[in-house]
């Protein structure tokens, strides 16, 4: 009885997280923002469903496989997101007018675009943190 309730709750919570991922994809304006929605809540959604399966079928063989699925999900999704974000940024699919500060742009440009043109919104502690461009 308790296991059934727990299973149902986990499946519902997981479905809700996946739904919020879908809504985020619809609502957010640009690719990088949508990547947030595509990576975080859907990972939680999958984990919730895995927990539900583990509660419903609590045998060693099932649980070890679920652990493997969770591990691979948590380690590969960030890398996939990083690859998509990097490709999008470097092909100019990121709308610059929606960015308040863009330190990657400075880091990628081989010549600093004018000494006085630094964006105003730098943190006070960021003085030593600019990475050198790859000369």
């Amino acid at each position: 009885m308790i296991a059934t309730v727990l299973t149902g709750a986990c499946v519902l919570a997981g479905a809700g997280a996946a739904l919020s991922a879908g809504l985020g994809l619809l609502r957010l304006p640009d690719l990088l923002s949508r990547m947030h929605a595509a990576t975080k809540p859907q990972a939680v959604g999958l984990l919730m469903v895995l927990v539900a399966v583990g509660v419903r079928f609590p045998t060693g063989g099932v649980i070890t496989t679920l652990l493997l699925v969770a591990l691979l999900q948590l380690t590969t999704v960030p890398i996939a997101a990083h690859m998509v974000g990097r490709a999008a940024y470097r092909t100019g699919r990121v709308p610059r007018h929606l960015l308040y500060v863009d330190e990657l742009d400075e880091a990628l440009s081989p010549v600093p675009p004018g000494a006085g043109e630094r964006p105003s919104g730098r943190g006070p502690d960021s003085g030593g943190e600019e990475p050198d461009a790859e000369h």
């Binding site: 947030h36 990972a43 999704v77 990657l104 742009d105």
Partner: protein, 187 residues
Amino acid sequence: MSDLPPFSVRVGRRVVQLPLVVWLTVIWLLMWDGPSAANVASGVAVALVLVLVFPLPPLDPGLRIRPVGLVVFAVRFAFDLLRSAGPLTWQAFGSAGRDTVNSVIGVTLRTRSDLILAGTAIALSAVPGTLVVDARLATSTLFLHVLGGADDAQLDRARAAVLALERRVVRAFGTREDLRAIAGDAR
């Protein structure tokens, strides 16, 4: 002959890292129903073939497992993960409208370990509001997209969060040298 990384043996011209073999065998066992002699033997065989056919550069100075730090890291990771899926988070982003201003910031980590950089980048994917866009190994710099990062205070918070995360990763997996790097830095 003495330039072998720790826990490694030389097989012909290839260097076999035994921790990697053990790890691959564990993954193999997780895929099956349980550890039996045949499973372990076949897992070791497959792992050896994999590391001989696809050799990886040694991970040096490698990772340590620090139990207390690992528990702190894991609990906080799970908490962040749940928080990032919370309906409030997404309502906040949704109500911000179509002209939400974000930022891309570069945060330079205090350690110079590839492993800590990778671990921090992976763990960052659980933190709501930040997404790794690019990474620079030479300087251990992570470039992050900060959702809703439209003023200096928010960006400072994001930087502090990344450095705090790095500290948790180091306390869970770091070498002594990594620990010194985060201890000697008061930023």
